[in-house]
């Protein structure tokens, strides 16, 4: 049987009827409708639910196990329909009325969430890096009328820094966006694309750093505007992301930079055990954490700030801002004045006075916004125009992009 239950709360009764009709093999009828009908539906970004069957968790697990190939690094999947529905609701939560941007689902694997999203009427682009999952996804793509697009590629190997040809599944973002049919919009415009993914644990911090650099440089995916990330990250990383000033351990340069760059929303928390891994023994491979809680994966929404590039911060000088924050917070308990002085800058004290930052302030005590103000003041004080500082900035970019 092909038909499944329509996802609860997904649609009105009209659409439920349509789904049933489709399930009953009335697809030719839909295709036969005048084209303006479909266009009208698409205009509001809402698709009729195709009423796909969503496989049960056990079946999804089997699919994952089958697709496993030696040499593929650890991946985590949503296998349980319940979790898929939760995620789907989270993703649609808070959406403004009107046309919805396309949703890029990274590494869908067995496609449980994909089907749930499609049933909820969302237009999905599935970006899958494991060719073993592709046939299933592609046949799904072919059974639908443009609501799903499947692309072979790896979101976490986007825009590799190595020179030479890019070998799939690694890919360039401009190719990805071209295939998706998404054009760049100005920074202050609405979100052009939503992205969903589970960050691979092994490179979690690295991936987030790369995204951060891309965000501040307006490069890679952020060249197309304020792309909204909806990503599962480990709880410990979430704690760092949302740490408050004063905490010498969790409040890091990483924290400051994300908080300046994005609005951070926690959408959902889910225990590690709800996910399926591609490990042979079916293990969960929960990363260890010594001093932060780490019982969940957290679904976090990172929406770039509309006003990020105002008041002196520009994509061209943002690397210096990142460098400055990292240098300051390398020793969180050090006094800010000492830090400024150690850079051969001589009027650090005066600068802090003007910003009304206390003389004895430690690096960990400054709010993200304070760092932004500090940077703006430095920009204006001609100190950063000394070229030698730029070398170190460049150096730091290279180190992170490796």
């Amino acid at each position: 049987m092909l038909a499944g239950r329509a996802p609860p709360g997904a649609a009105d009764c009209c659409r439920r009827f349509l789904a049933a009709a489709l399930a009953a093999g009335l697809r030719p009828l839909l295709c036969g409708l005048p084209p303006c009908w479909a266009t009208a539906r698409r205009a509001v970004g809402q698709w009729p639910s195709p009423g796909l069957r969503v496989p049960e968790a056990a079946e999804a697990e089997r699919l994952v196990q089958q697709a496993q190939r030696t040499g593929v690094s650890l991946r985590r999947f949503i296998a349980c329909p319940q979790l898929a529905r939760t995620v789907q609701r989270c993703l649609q939560d808070g959406a403004r009325p009107g046309p919805q941007p396309v949703l890029l689902e990274c590494a869908p694997g067995p496609g449980i969430l994909t089907r749930t999203l499609l049933n909820a009427g969302v237009r999905v682009v599935a970006l899958e890096s494991n060719s073993a999952f592709l046939p299933n996804l592609q046949s799904l793509e072919n059974s639908l009328d443009g609501q799903l697009k499947v692309i072979y590629g790896d979101f976490f190997r986007l825009d590799p820094l190595v020179t030479g040809t890019v070998k799939p599944p690694a890919m360039c973002s401009d190719k990805l966006f071209e295939t998706m049919g998404v054009a760049a919009v100005p920074w202050r415009a609405d979100v052009p694309v939503k992205i969903f993914g589970i960050i691979p644990q092994k490179k979690e911090r690295n991936t987030l750093w790369r995204l951060l650099f891309a965000l501040y440089e307006c490069s890679s995916i952020y060249r197309y505007g304020r792309v909204e990330l909806n990503i599962f990250i480990s709880e410990k990383e979430y704690k760092v992301l949302t740490a408050m000033p004063g905490d010498a351990r969790t409040y890091q340069a990483f924290t400051v930079l994300w908080q300046v760059g994005c609005e951070i929303q926690l959408l959902h928390m889910e225990p590690w055990s709800s996910f399926v891994t591609n490990l042979k023994n079916g293990g969960l491979a929960v990363p260890k954490s010594t001093w932060l809680p780490n019982d969940h994966l957290c679904l976090v929404r990172l929406t770039p700030q509309q006003n990020l590039f105002t008041r002196g911060l520009k994509p061209t000088n943002a690397a210096t801002f990142i460098f400055m924050v990292k240098q300051c917070l390398a020793k969180p308990k050090s006094k800010l004045t000492d830090r400024l002085n150690s850079w051969s800058l001589d009027n650090g004290g005066k600068l802090l006075r003007e910003l009304e930052i206390p003389k004895k302030a430690e690096a960990r005590n400054l709010y993200p916004e304070d760092y932004r103000r500090l940077f703006e003041a430095l920009q204006n004080s001609s100190m950063f125009t000394e070229t030698w500082f730029h070398d170190d900035v460049l150096e730091s970019i290279r180190n992170i992009n490796l």
Binding site: T70, G71, K331, S344, T385, T387, E395, R398
Partner: protein, 910 residues
């Protein structure tokens, strides 16, 4: 404190009741200055007829491997071509150099003409330096004053006494020296702090040796000691160590020549260094407008502190301001300042007689090198009965007593290329002026696009690499140039596994092709009947050609290309340049020149040659395993068994793997079919070589992947699978050929794992009696300093061992220790045969005349070493050490060695 006011009789009474004899005062105590005489005088006020105890009888080492060596009466110790008088003068020169602590020499770049800008920049630098000197002195005095006023002891003012050991001026000189050697790319804080701290420590030790009058005593003994080495000296039936000990005993110095232990904990050295570094960063400033008068005249610090981020950790760096680097580079100063211990010794080294005494006259040198604050090996050496160390000490003395000189024609050619544009292909680093320039981009760097930034980064990286290579070569060549007319010596010490190293760090025979090519034995020997042939074979070995051919064929090949050889020797830079296309071009050139001279002399056999001829070990690690496991096939392929053609183990393994592949391919294994035609010696070489040193499948696969990637035709999509398959087959191949190797490795690893898990460190004793402990510990503590916190290995005795490292490193370390044992045995027996011998780990050097003798000694000693029950002894040692408190039958069975079947000790040919 005067002895006369002590209640003397009560003291002596107390000693007696505690079970001590008065004699022991003079046998076991360390005395400084004239303490010994004072004590003797005091004792004699009580017992007027007291006589000093006779010096202890020298003990003889009982190791079965060295029975002949120590029991045979010494054939005369080889004499140097110097008179007593000459050696005495050289000793004075060396002493003066060491008393100065540092030495400043002209660099080889000094011959370049001086530009007007350079003159101007030098003058500027001179003024700045004198200003910096004053401000550093001021900062130092101020910080000392602040410390002295603090009443409570804190981490901060515990440094106070250590800042009062030397005159203030000396601290300032040390800091200025660090400043002038700082590279434009900067240096990590930890490295700089350690350097500063150790420099203070070294000067302090020199002071102590002077004040305690230890130096006087050393001088006195050395004066007599050189009679053993001088051509007009009398005594000759002693080893250097024996003779030194005899002289010390005769002079009645006893143990007073050893200083009381005064080494500083690693933490202290780092803390002191960090404090000095902070002073330096604070005090040294430069007017910002010094190069650009339009800027406002403001003082800015010369050094700045920033962090560099490497994945999960951060490293603090001290970088010089570009203004400073600019002035230094404009000034192009041609004076280099080194620690006196960086220069080869100008007289024969002081022989090693104990773990703390030997090598340089004043510079503090440890018998075993220091590993990040570990002290366990030092304690172990101290507890070890001195007689057990004799073979090791004697071997080190033998290596250090080899006199060297410079091959001047080769040095001159190298310097001429170095001062011209360098030559990367010939390994002569070009000057920075030859560095690639980033493409000129418009606008400031902030507006560049990604690829421009990337290109700029690559240029900067290249320039940084070039700078460090250039400086390294500059140091080596300048030192070589400084000693170009002298005869010099490299004192040796060893690492914790017993591998030996020359102490001077930059210029020594362990260096690269360039440095090796400019070294000659100071002693010359006639070539003899076969010497010229050996020179030719040596030349072919240096080219890297004919690896699989017999020695005779190599010789024939050399004779065939004689014309090329002579052309290279006569017109090295203008001729056909055959030498430039060899594996080791500079050594090849030097060898060509020697062959030319020898073959043109009227009687080549009588030609006196100073040229070192090398004999390379072929995969020594596997040789030891093959011998330990008594493996026949393995033994043949690593040349342990007699065979007409030198065997090449890498080719043999490649062949074996190819056979496996064929079988699999026939059975339809896809990846085996894909790999057809790709398996070669080159693909397997690195993995085979590193198997001995414990490479895992994981690491092996990565190596394979790299090799396969280098092959353009290899289909990329199969990389992972193919490398995975290959590493499996290489391991199988080795298992097949060296059946026991893996078993022995597994046993060693397993034993080390059990030992480490029980919270102890892995220890063993080499067949020569050297105790070894693996210095891998976990604990790291943080050193809190104002500028930055440093993570420092702490050195206390209750450190927890690093289980993983203890386990994984044991097999390779054990094999290294066997290898060094074999080297030392060869060195000692070569000494008995009267030949010159030095080693670069598993590559042995001697005169062309004596190659055959050396080869024979080497083979004999390999057989002798492996005739010992090495694994049995190791097992017994471990059971005794680690299972002493458990019932024997409870001892973990895996501490017993694996059963070994098969061969007797193989014969061998190296």
């Amino acid at each position: 404190l005067s002895l006369s006011c002590l209640p003397l009789p009560r003291c002596v009474q107390q000693m007696k009741s505690d079970g001590f004899h008065v004699d022991e005062l003079f046998q076991k105590c360390l005395f400084e200055e004239d303490e010994k005489d004072e004590v003797l005088r005091a004792i004699r006020t009580l017992h007027p007829n007291y006589q000093l105890p006779p010096p202890p009888k020298p003990e003889t080492c009982k190791s079965s491997l060295l029975q002949d060596f120590y029991s045979e009466k010494m054939v005369s110790y080889p004499k140097l071509d110097f008179s007593v008088q000459e050696l005495q003068e050289r000793f004075q020169q060396q002493l003066e150099m060491e008393l100065d602590n540092t030495i400043t020499i002209e660099s080889v770049e000094a011959t370049r003409p001086l530009t007007p800008e350079a003159i101007k920049a030098r003058k500027l630098l001179g003024t700045l330096r004198s200003r910096w000197h004053d401000s550093i002195l001021q900062a130092l005095q101020k910080s000392k004053h602040n410390m002295s006023k603090l009443k409570t002891a804190s981490g901060y003012n515990t440094l106070y006494p250590y800042l009062c050991l030397l005159p203030d001026e000396e601290y300032v000189a040390i800091m200025l020296q660090i400043l002038s050697t700082l590279s434009p790319q900067g240096e990590s804080l930890a490295v700089l702090a350690r350097e500063l701290g150790s420099k203070v420590y070294n000067r302090y030790v020199t002071q102590r040796k002077l004040r305690s009058r230890q130096l006087e005593k050393v001088q006195e003994v050395y004066k007599d000691y050189i009679h053993l080495l001088a051509k007009d000296g009398q005594p000759d039936e002693y080893l250097p160590r024996e003779y030194w000990e005899k002289l010390v005993a005769e002079a009645g110095f006893g143990p007073s020549l050893n200083l009381k232990d005064c080494s500083w904990p690693y933490m202290l050295i780092m803390r002191l260094g960090m404090h000095m570094l902070e002073l330096l960063v604070q005090a040294v400033k430069v007017p910002r407008n010094i190069l650009n008068p339009r800027l406002e005249p403001k003082l800015i610090p010369v050094l700045y502190h920033i962090y560099s981020f490497r994945s999960s950790w951060q490293v603090g760096l001290i970088k010089p301001h570009p203004i400073f680097s600019q002035i230094v580079s404009d000034a192009a100063e041609t004076l280099l300042t080194f620690n006196s211990s960086a220069i080869p010794m100008l007289c024969p080294p002081v022989p090693w007689t104990s773990p703390h005494f030997g090598a340089f006259v004043l510079n503090d040198t440890k018998l075993m090198r220091f590993v990040d604050g570990a002290v366990q090996h030092q304690l172990l050496l101290e507890q070890c009965p001195p007689v057990n160390l004799h073979p090791v000490l004697d071997a080190l003395n033998q290596l250090g007593n080899c006199a060297w000189k410079i091959n001047q024609p080769v040095l001159d050619i190298i310097i001429s290329i170095f001062n011209d544009k360098g030559n990367e292909k010939l390994d002569i680093p070009p000057p920075i002026s030859e560095a690639p320039r980033p493409p000129a981009a418009s606008g400031s760097s902030s507006t560049w696009n990604k690829s421009q930034k990337h290109e700029l980064l690559l240029c900067k990286k290249k320039a940084a690499e070039m700078h460090s290579l250039r400086m390294d070569a500059l140091y080596k060549l300048s030192i070589a140039n400084y000693v170009r007319d002298k005869v010099f010596w490299f004192p040796h010490n060893m690492d914790f596994r017993g591998r030996t190293y020359p102490c001077p760090p930059y210029f020594n025979h362990l260096g690269n092709d360039v440095t090796r090519a400019i070294l000659l034995f100071a002693e010359g020997r006639p070539l003899g009947p076969k010497g010229l042939d050996w020179l030719k074979i040596h030349l072919i070995n240096l080219t890297g050609l004919k690896k699989k051919n017999a020695l005779q064929e190599r010789l024939e090949y050399a004779n065939e290309i004689m014309e090329e050889i002579l052309d290279s020797a006569d017109r090295p830079l203008t001729g056909r340049k055959w030498w430039m296309n060899t594996d080791e071009p500079w050594q090849a050139l030097a060898c060509c020149m020697e062959i030319a001279k020898a073959s043109r002399s009227p009687d080549p056999a009588a030609y006196v040659s100073h040229f070192p001829v090398h004999q390379d070990g072929s995969c020594n690690g596997l040789q030891h395993y093959a011998a330990l496991g008594r493996d026949l096939i393995g033994a043949i392929s690593v040349n342990l068994m007699p065979c007409s053609v030198p065997q090449d183990v890498y080719s043999a393994v490649a062949q074996q793997v190819e056979e496996f592949r064929k079988k699999d391919a026939e059975q339809g294994v896809k990846i085996a079919q894909v790999l057809q035609g790709f398996i070669s010696r080159k693909v397997v070489k690195q993995t085979v070589m590193t198997v001995v040193y414990g490479v895992t499948r994981y690491g092996g696969r990565l190596q394979m992947e790299k090799r396969l990637k280098e092959i353009d035709e290899f289909p990329e999509e199969y990389l992972w699978e193919a490398s995975h398959y290959l590493v499996k087959q290489v391991f199988n191949g080795i298992k097949e050929m060296f059946s026991a190797t893996r078993d022995i490795q597994n046993w060693l690893t397993e034993s080390a794992k059990l030992i480490a898990q029980s919270g102890r460190t892995v220890e063993w004793v080499t067949p020569l009696g050297l105790p070894i402990v693996q210095p891998y510990y976990r604990s790291k503590s943080t050193l809190n300093c104002g500028m930055q916190n440093l993570s420092v290995k702490n050195s206390n005795s209750n450190q927890k061992p690093d289980t993983v490292k203890q386990k994984n490193a044991f097999p390779p370390n054990f094999i290294h220790s066997l290898d060094s044992t074999h080297m030392m045995l060869t060195a000692l027996h070569c000494l008995r045969q009267g030949l010159t011998f030095v080693s670069v780990h598993d590559c042995y050097w001697t005169h062309a005349l004596t190659v055959d003798v050396m080869n024979q000694v080497c083979r004999e000693q390999f057989v002798a070493l492996h005739s010992e029950k090495i694994l049995q002894d190791l097992s017994e040692f471990m059971l005794e050490k680690y299972c002493r408190y458990s019932h024997p039958c409870h001892a973990p069975s895996c501490l017993h060695p694996p059963l070994l079947l098969g061969l007797d000790v193989p014969q061998c040919s190296v």
